[in-house]
């Protein structure tokens, strides 16, 4: 595999997503946060900063999720549909390079999105911080502009990489609609992972319990990436937890990309 080729494919994916106006999502994000910051004081009693933090982190996650799924499912399918895959594979681009390049390209798009949304998020918080007295600020569990929230943003990004890899995996052999449904379905199931672990407590059948236990280890555990509530309250999140979770995400991405490459390598475009 040639890193130059992967980089070339990745940059093309990034340019295409810019052409597809994916970055418009940033305008929507900024408008949402600014609008909510203005309205929140009128709607609730106290906790404005907490609500803006919750909303900001949830919006970063949701916008990223939508981009990961809806761009991810079209990465391979579009090339096949437009028949540009024939000219691409006729060039010195191997199929693994093509798949990995596509993944890296979308990861780059997500990185730019998440980074920009994070900057906008901190800017809104910095402004809101000026609207409160020292007495009120002292009562918050964490400062408004708390760098500790970057830990949650980092894990959101790793989670988005896993979602991208799932979408890419399905897009190598399935239609966009089915890929979106399967990726979304896996994302939802991935939040019920703990229930699968405790399945033996609610069923009597040892086979069903073992099956659920097996699924618990195989299916992606998306709940593990969610530390939003902890960082908003400045609760300790050990570095070891961050490392293990990021490592888990990286291995899962590698597994899915290997699967995607294997399936894509066997596809016949003749």
């Amino acid at each position: 595999m040639h890193p130059q080729v992967i980089r070339h494919v990745a940059l093309n994916v990034f340019k295409e997503s810019v052409r597809d106006r994916v970055l418009y999502s940033l305008v929507a994000f900024a408008s949402l946060l600014i609008g909510v910051s203005y309205l929140i004081g009128q709607l609730t009693a106290g906790q404005d900063i907490k609500i803006i933090k919750d909303l900001g982190l949830a919006a970063i996650s949701t916008f990223g999720l939508l981009i990961a799924i809806f761009i991810g499912i079209g990465l391979v399918w579009k090339e096949v549909e437009r028949r540009s895959i024939y000219s691409l594979l006729a060039k010195p681009v191997s199929r693994p390079e093509f798949i990995i390049g596509k993944f890296v390209g979308l990861a780059l798009t997500l990185l730019v999105n998440v980074a920009t949304m994070t900057v906008a998020f901190y800017a809104v918080l910095a402004y809101m911080n000026t609207q409160f007295s020292d007495n009120v600020r002292a009562s918050w569990p964490a400062p408004a502009v708390d760098p500790g929230m970057l830990r949650a943003v980092a894990l959101i990004f790793v989670e988005l990489l896993v979602v991208t890899a799932i979408a890419l995996f399905f897009s190598t052999f399935s239609s966009p609609f089915l890929s979106a449904a399967l990726t979304g379905g896996l994302w939802v199931i991935g939040h019920f992972n703990t229930d699968l672990r405790n399945f033996e407590a609610v069923v009597e059948s040892p086979v069903a319990a073992s099956l659920a236990r097996g699924l618990y280890y195989i299916l992606p555990n998306f709940a593990a990436f969610d530390i939003k509530a902890q960082v908003v309250y400045a609760q300790p999140v050990p570095s070891s937890y961050l490392l293990i979770t990021a490592g888990y995400g990286a291995v899962y991405v590698a597994l899915l990309l290997t699967g995607a490459v294997t399936i894509f390598a066997r596809r016949d475009f003749a």
């Binding site: 009693a45 106290g46 609500i51 909303l55 009562s139 939003k228």
Partner: protein, 294 residues
């Protein structure tokens, strides 16, 4: 081609705005009989349905609780009730067990007696105890339980016990133990109530809570003023052998100068020898207090 399209867009836009104005003039949709609904009441179910948005959903339920409380309180509909208040607060605090404001303000909303609130001191205490289970180091929850016993239940022994419990917390302020002692010794007196509200005013983190403490202190001032005015009205009745039928009577007799107003500037009422707070005053209704506890 561009101009006709632009003209059409402007015309259709004006049409939409015009129809909306007609809709508004006609009073909107016909009044429905739909009650306020809460589709999911089970905190356990909602925790599962929330996926990774539990904190955000907690915020939404909190905003809904505030809107429900405010909307019902301001409603002129005699059938308006605070039925959804506790379920909404329960959902908010189950989705976010560290939601401090939902426990503290929620308990105030729940304890407020009708018509300003549901008067459910039991649920207020249950909510705060739930907070204590989630955050066993939060002395303010224990203080708030004591406060509900003190202010709304007039159970000064229980109040003192909870203030003493709050004083045992590692981060409790130094004034908590004297407060427990004062409550036990002279609970229910306006002086001890003033001490309590002044402490709350001094430590309140939020504008709403500060305003509420200020309002309660003004209510205590109003109660003192009412005592003096009632004494004047009684004196008038004894000397003139008839009840005063307006402030003009007391002014003419030299008991008052001008028309007495409450601390918010709203005139007090005097009719048939009875002095009372104007129901339109921001301080209405005044808290009840046990006889002989002034």
């Amino acid at each position: 081609m561009r101009w006709p399209a632009l003209v059409l867009i402007v015309a259709l836009g004006a049409g939409v705005a015009g129809l909306q104005a007609v809709h508004e003039r006609r009073g909107g949709p016909p009044a429905g009989t739909t009650e306020n609904l809460l589709y999911v009441r089970s905190p356990e179910a909602m925790q599962r349905l929330a996926l990774s948005y539990d904190a955000l959903l907690a915020d939404l339920y909190w905003i809904r609780a505030v809107q429900h409380y405010g909307g019902t309180r301001l409603s002129t509909d005699p059938a308006a009730r605070f039925d959804l208040l506790y379920p909404l607060l329960d959902l908010a605090t189950s989705l976010d067990p560290y939601f401090r404001v939902a426990y503290l303000f929620g308990s105030i909303f729940l304890a407020e007696p009708p018509p300003g609130g549901p008067g459910r001191t039991d649920l207020a205490i249950a909510l705060l105890e739930k907070g204590l289970r989630a955050q066993p180091d939060e002395w303010e929850y224990a203080q708030a339980v004591g406060f509900v016993h003190y202010w709304w239940r007039q159970d000064y022994e229980q109040a003192a016990a909870w203030f003493a419990r709050a004083a045992d917390f590692p981060d409790a302020p130094v004034w908590m133990r004297p407060l427990a002692a004062t409550t036990l010794a002279q609970g229910g007196s306006r002086a001890s109530s003033r001490v309590l509200w002044r402490q709350i005013l001094a430590t309140a983190e939020d504008g709403w809570y500060r305003n509420e403490a200020q309002r309660r202190l003004l209510q205590l001032d109003a109660m003192d003023q009412l005592d003096r005015l009632r004494a004047a009205a009684d004196a008038f009745r004894e000397t003139r052998m008839r009840p005063a039928d307006g402030w003009a009577d007391l002014r003419a007799a030299g008991y008052v100068r001008g028309t007495p107003v409450d601390p918010t500037g709203t005139p007090y009422r005097l009719a048939g020898g009875v002095v009372s707070l104007d129901p339109d005053s921001r301080l209405h209704p005044l808290p009840t207090e046990p006889a002989g506890r002034r």
